[in-house]
């Protein structure tokens, strides 16, 4: 067995008893700042942290599930290797790394680097894994990277790339705290916690007579109940509503002529096309009142400011790229794109990212990767099965799954189960024995986000990254993801040992003169070995980890040191606006050190950048002519087709299932132990309209069966008058297998929605699945009185 190079060898050892330790909630992208108490290495109390610059003390109930995420019956304690009979044997890290390295090298050398793919990384509040896994993929020179953003949000990034030539590190977000008028689509933020403090924001929108909230949602959601107007759109028909709104504005000449003249290219052909679209017909197809649609269009255009707030409900539906395009069209023609109180580009921490035109294409579908938040393109997870089963010689043969659970979280479970079985190698890097880990060749244990140094960096209105130390000690053999990738890269021979000079320079790098010399020499030495931009970047990252990393509290932090310097070099105005002591520093690397030291000194999160919203459009629209290119001929062709063709419904599947309702008791698939859910439940019912239920003879609590063209599931019925007729909802994040506390046998918690999703029901441009509009039929299986489902539902 070859010698394995190690930098981290053993768990982080925070104090076993501590009070008021700052950290963050990793259960949703809101990332509420927390203070926790620890006793005997166990989290005993969790409170909102008023010193967190984003959430200022706010949390929801879910943060109290963190102890269930940290300690549970399915933590992986050792590296595991699957035996031919399907059971696992404990192996050493050295054996795991050397065997995996050998198998990956075999695939890389006999086939192609792209035959090795990566799925996952990041999650909601643990973003450090990406700082190890992406340099590994760079070193490997494989662009095959799949991430959950590719089944949710890449359509927006594609639209922003095309219209504004936007860089991947921005997000065109509603200025929800200040806008006079909010059009809200496909989200229920009062429950799902979007924004700085959604409950307060929506209370103000509901009660402030100067502000107006229009909610588009088939369901009478908690947010819709606070709306000035609620348009109950037919599930998945948002595209018609947006076409109708645009048509009204264009036909009535309500566009912001000054903004359009200054910032929009090709308004005329767009207007001409929309002249031919009948808003009344669009309202009918969307299932909303024509008057409501017309009034909303007029108000949106004529309000002093207006924003559009959107999320998954318009992302996992048919035509989601066109929906995203139309959102941008509406914002642009009304003068609300890239402006204060409208939708503004917000940017995450780090150096300015480049716009990279050329992106890898999937072999089978030709769908192009789309960069979003990360500098590399993201491919949609639901093309993974066909990329594995294809006969192309460069097909995926090895898959590394890191911080994801494709057999629960990716669409079409059956397709994934069949495809994963055909892989030559499946490696799962995870703290828990997930459904995907159960079928892996190797399972490599990591600490959870409270047992290692971690980092969270979703973009907010201000630049507020949070680097946080571990708060409890994890399993002895769990290794942070970047260490695993470092060991693999070295064992595979992808990256040589760091030149000795870099160790010497690293000890002097935390200095305004030493920093640029260290970075410069590392880059030069990496470039001398050739291989293109990505392998060079991979070498630099690995050498930083090995040299500078060894001088820091934890080696992966070395990448944050580099990002701090990149941030100070490329975004000085934002830094100076938020951090007064940066203003007098002439050397940008002195400012970089200041940024890095602030990150280290503020585990509760720190304000490191503010940007005035004036000039937001100009700063983020990178088209050579400075204008948004609003007329996209292929998308306009799609819109023409939509306007002239009536939508079809399959009579065999008359119901539309929203596959993933947000409730107070779901947190994606992050918390596996169902004991965190309290209350009466059932927490994972099939929710339907009482009149539909009466017609079908279904009563509250009856066991019902849903059948789609891909499969069938069963669950208890829950009748809800706020659900539209013909519509169904099932909460997301269920369907995991967890040991029964009494018998120890694996038992499924709630419904696995992805059994119903057809992998081919997806957006042609992005591959985003139609998980929010699954056509299905519903029938009663068992009446409530002899229904045992409630008992089997959850341990709670």
């Amino acid at each position: 067995m070859p010698t394995i190079t190690k930098i981290i060898d053993g768990p982080a050892r925070p104090s076993p008893n501590a009070v008021n330790v700052p950290t963050v909630c990793v259960l949703c992208s809101h990332n509420c700042g927390l203070r926790i108490d620890v006793k005997d290495n166990t989290i005993t109390a969790i409170r909102g942290d008023e010193s967190n610059p984003n959430t200022a003390g706010y949390t929801c109930n879910k943060a109290r599930a963190i102890p269930n995420y940290v300690r549970h019956a399915q933590r992986v304690a050792h590296p595991l290797k699957r035996r031919p009979d399907g059971t696992f044997e404990r192996i050493s890290w050295d054996q795991a790394v050397s065997e995996i390295a050998e198998r990956l090298n075999h695939i890389r050398q006999h086939h192609a680097p792209r035959s090795i793919a990566l799925a996952g990384i990041g999650g909601q509040g643990n973003h450090m894994a990406g700082l190890g896994s992406l340099p590994f993929m760079f070193s490997l020179n494989s662009p095959m990277f799949f991430n959950a953003l590719g089944q949710e949000k890449t359509q927006h990034a594609l639209v922003w790339r095309r219209l504004y030539r936007a860089t991947p590190d921005v997000y065109l977000h509603a200025d929800e705290e200040h806008s006079d008028y909010m059009l809200l689509l496909g989200t229920n933020p009062v429950i799902s916690n979007r924004g700085r403090n959604a409950t307060e924001v929506f209370k103000d929108l509901a009660t402030n007579p100067q502000r107006k909230l229009v909610v588009v949602d088939p369901r009478v959601s908690e947010t819709a109940r606070r709306a000035d107007r609620h348009m109950r759109v037919k599930p998945g028909c948002d595209v018609y509503l947006l076409m109708g709104l645009t048509a009204v504005i264009v036909r009535e000449h309500l566009q912001d002529q000054v903004f359009v003249a200054r910032h929009v290219k090709d308004y005329e052909p767009l207007a001409k096309a929309f002249q031919g679209i009948d808003p009344v017909l669009m309202a009918e197809r969307a299932g909303v009142s024509a008057q409501d649609l017309i009034d909303t269009a007029r108000e949106f255009a004529q309000s002093p400011s207006a924003c559009i707030y959107f999320d998954l409900g318009i992302e996992q539906i048919p035509h989601s790229t066109i929906v995203s395009y139309l959102i941008n069209v509406l914002l642009l023609i009304t003068g609300n794109a890239g402006v204060e109180k409208g939708n503004a580009f917000i940017q995450q921490f780090g150096p300015k990212q480049p716009y990279i035109k050329k992106q890898v294409e999937a072999l089978v579908s030709g769908i192009e990767a789309i960069p979003l938040l990360l500098p590399v393109g993201i491919l949609p997870p639901n093309v993974i099965p066909e990329e594995i089963t294809s006969t192309h010689p460069d097909r995926i043969r090895a898959l590394i799954v890191d911080g994801a659970n494709p057999l629960v979280s990716y669409p079409d479970t059956k397709a994934f189960r069949e495809a994963l079985a055909q892989l030559e190698l499946l490696v799962v890097i995870e703290p828990a024995m997930t459904e995907t880990a159960m079928v892996a060749d190797y399972v490599l244990p990591t600490p959870v986000g409270y047992e290692k140094w971690e980092f969270n960096t979703f973009p907010h209105m201000d630049v507020t990254p949070q680097l946080r130390p571990p708060v409890v000690q994890g399993p002895d053999e769990a290794l942070p993801e970047p260490e695993i990738y470092f060991r693999l890269a070295r064992a595979m021979g992808l990256v040589p040992k760091a030149p000795r000079i870099l160790h010497w320079l690293a000890r002097r790098a935390r200095h305004p003169i030493g920093a640029p010399i260290f970075i410069g020499v590392a880059t030069m030495l990496a470039a001398l070995r050739g291989g293109g931009v990505f392998p060079v970047a991979g070498r630099v990252a690995n050498w930083l980890y090995e040299t500078l990393g060894a001088t820091l509290p934890s080696p992966p932090i070395s990448m944050l040191w580099l990002m701090s310097h990149g941030y100070a070099l490329t975004r000085r105005a934002e830094l100076n606006a938020a951090v007064p002591e940066a203003r007098h520093l002439k050397n940008p690397h002195a400012a970089g050190e200041l940024v890095f030291n602030k990150l280290l000194a503020h585990p509760e999160g720190v304000l490191l950048g503010q940007s005035p919203l004036q000039g937001n459009f100009e700063r983020h629209c990178h088209q050579p002519d400075g204008k948004a290119h609003i007329y996209q001929s292929d998308w306009m062709t799609d819109i023409h087709k939509l306007a002239t063709t009536a939508p079809l419904q399959n009579p065999d599947y008359p119901f539309i299932l929203n596959g993933g309702l947000r409730t107070g008791w779901n947190a994606n698939t992050i918390v596996r132990d169902p004991a965190w859910r309290k209350g009466k439940g059932p927490h994972c019912p099939v929710i339907l309209n009482p009149e539909d239920a009466a017609e079908l003879g279904i009563k509250e609590g009856d066991l019902v069966k849903l059948t789609s063209k891909r499969g069938a599931i069963e669950g208890p019925a829950k009748l809800e008058p706020g659900t539209l007729r013909g519509h169904l909802h099932i909460p997301n994040g269920f369907g995991m297998q967890f040991p029964d506390p009494v018998t120890g046998q694996l038992k499924q918690t709630g419904i696995l929605i992805n059994e119903l999703v057809d992998i081919m029901d997806r957006d042609p441009y992005t591959g985003c699945p139609h998980t929010k509009t699954i056509a299905c039929s519903i029938q009663r299986v068992v009446e409530q009185h002899d229904n045992a489902h409630d008992e089997q539902e959850e341990a709670a």
């Binding site: 949390t59 109930n61 943060a63 307060e200 209370k203 109940r225 107070g664």
Partner: protein
Amino acid sequence: MTFVVTEACIQCKYTDCVTVCPVDCFHEGPNFLVINPDGCVDCGICVPECPANAILADVDLPADQQHFLQLNAELSRYPAWAVINMQKAPLPEHAQWLAVQSKLDQLDRHGA
């Protein structure tokens, strides 16, 4: 913002809500529960638990229940109204009182 226990709770006091509160901000009187508005984190997780549908967000309070906002704040501060976080049996006559609309005159303020 805060959530508020309204009139429907009086004389029923099911206490399903107290088991789900993440911040233990329910306080108990002899025949009514209240939410401490300073402790409430607005998560709303208690709302569907109540068999009497007595818990509402402050913004959703109908006109005839507006005074419960102040009443929750006032009673939760009174020392005799202790924190409750374990479910107990509802009051004996809960079933008769569940459908009664107007029962504020039944409220036992427990000296507050």
